[in-house]
């Protein structure tokens, strides 16, 4: 694949994740490629017209040549780093999105160790894992939940970050009054 093709596929994946969050949330404001507290996130959604819970998504594209077995290796090794990174993001819901652009890759389940590692240290909150299948024609079926996200603790920092972000940025998707 050329760099342009990969960039286009990742763009489609962002759109698919955005659509998923629009359906899941109530009139959210959605931002793409957001700088969230100094960390780049691929999709940021703030629920309830920008006054509700904050959802952050980091994408991990699969190599088109990766076989199913290699996916497990990826889960057990390389995924470890972004998982720790996203666990430290100040948001109520945190997700990793595995992006598949190869029609030969079958659906997979996360390794048990990953499920454990996805939990917050105190158990309040779990990083969700989404699976974005760009080979699926129906956009509504492109994003599947592999591991359900659980809400992290809220904090003054998250609320203030969200208020400031909404005030300073134009959403990629929102419903206007």
């Amino acid at each position: 694949m050329t760099e342009t093709e990969i960039r286009q596929d990742l763009g489609r994946a962002k759109n698919a994740i955005q659509d998923y969050l629009i359906r899941k949330l109530v009139v959210p404001k959605v931002y793409l490629d957001a700088n969230w507290n100094g960390t780049q996130v691929d999709v940021l959604a703030i629920d309830r017209a920008g006054v509700g819970d904050v959802h952050t998504v980091r994408m991990i594209p699969l190599d088109p040549d990766t076989s199913l077995n290699a996916v497990f290796i990826l889960f057990a090794s390389k995924l470890h780093v972004p998982l720790e990174e996203i666990k430290s993001l100040p948001s109520h819901y945190r997700y990793i999105a595995i992006v598949n652009i190869d029609s030969n890759t079958r659906r997979f389940n996360p390794h048990e160790e990953i499920v454990w590692q996805s939990l917050a240290d105190d158990g309040v909150g779990r990083v969700g894992i989404l699976y974005v299948d760009l080979c699926e024609d129906d956009p509504k079926l492109q994003v599947r939940v592999i591991l359900k996200a659980e809400r992290f603790r809220s904090s003054k920092e998250i609320v203030e970050l969200a208020d400031r972000y909404v005030a300073e940025h134009t959403a990629n998707w929102e419903i206007r009054e």
């Binding site: 359906r23 109530v26 009139v27 309830r48 017209a49 920008g50 006054v51 509700g52 929102e174 419903i175 206007r176 009054e177």
Partner: protein
């Protein structure tokens, strides 16, 4: 007590909204259902706001007076942005026609209801948070 009621009305409002949201993409197949869910979503948001702002009885079926009651509360709090009340009035004015009247309703009217509902929900969520309503 009011805080609990606000949460109950809000849960109901968001539930109706999610139902409308599921059905609105196929307005050729589903028309009255998402429209009524949208209107009831707005009514529940209105009730949550009114209870949170001091109303004690929101059980009346006279929804027209509900919009006026909401506006009165908002005026008391000196809320300048009243666009939501206009969306609400437009939705309430269509309730009987959608629910009971033996009239033909155009697809455009259903689309308008969805649009007004979405805009009303944005306004209601922002207003509830801004006014620091307990239970919001």
């Amino acid at each position: 007590m009011a805080e609990v009621q606000v949460q109950l009305f809000l849960d109901r409002a968001r539930d109706f909204f999610n139902g409308m949201d599921l059905l609105k993409d196929d307005l050729d197949e589903y028309r009255f259902s998402p429209a009524l869910l949208g209107i009831h979503c707005a009514i529940s948001y209105c009730d949550a706001l009114r209870i949170g702002l001091g109303s004690t009885n929101v059980s009346s079926d006279d929804h027209g007076s509900a919009a006026e009651d909401l506006k009165r509360h908002l005026d008391d709090r000196r809320v300048e942005n009243l666009r939501g009340v206009e969306h609400l009035k437009k939705l309430l004015s269509k309730k009987s026609r959608i629910a009971y009247a033996p009239d033909a309703v155009r697809k455009f009217d259903f689309e308008q209801i969805v649009t007004h509902t979405e805009r009303f929900v944005v306004w209601a969520e922002e207003t509830g948070r801004k006014l620091k309503i307990e239970g919001w």
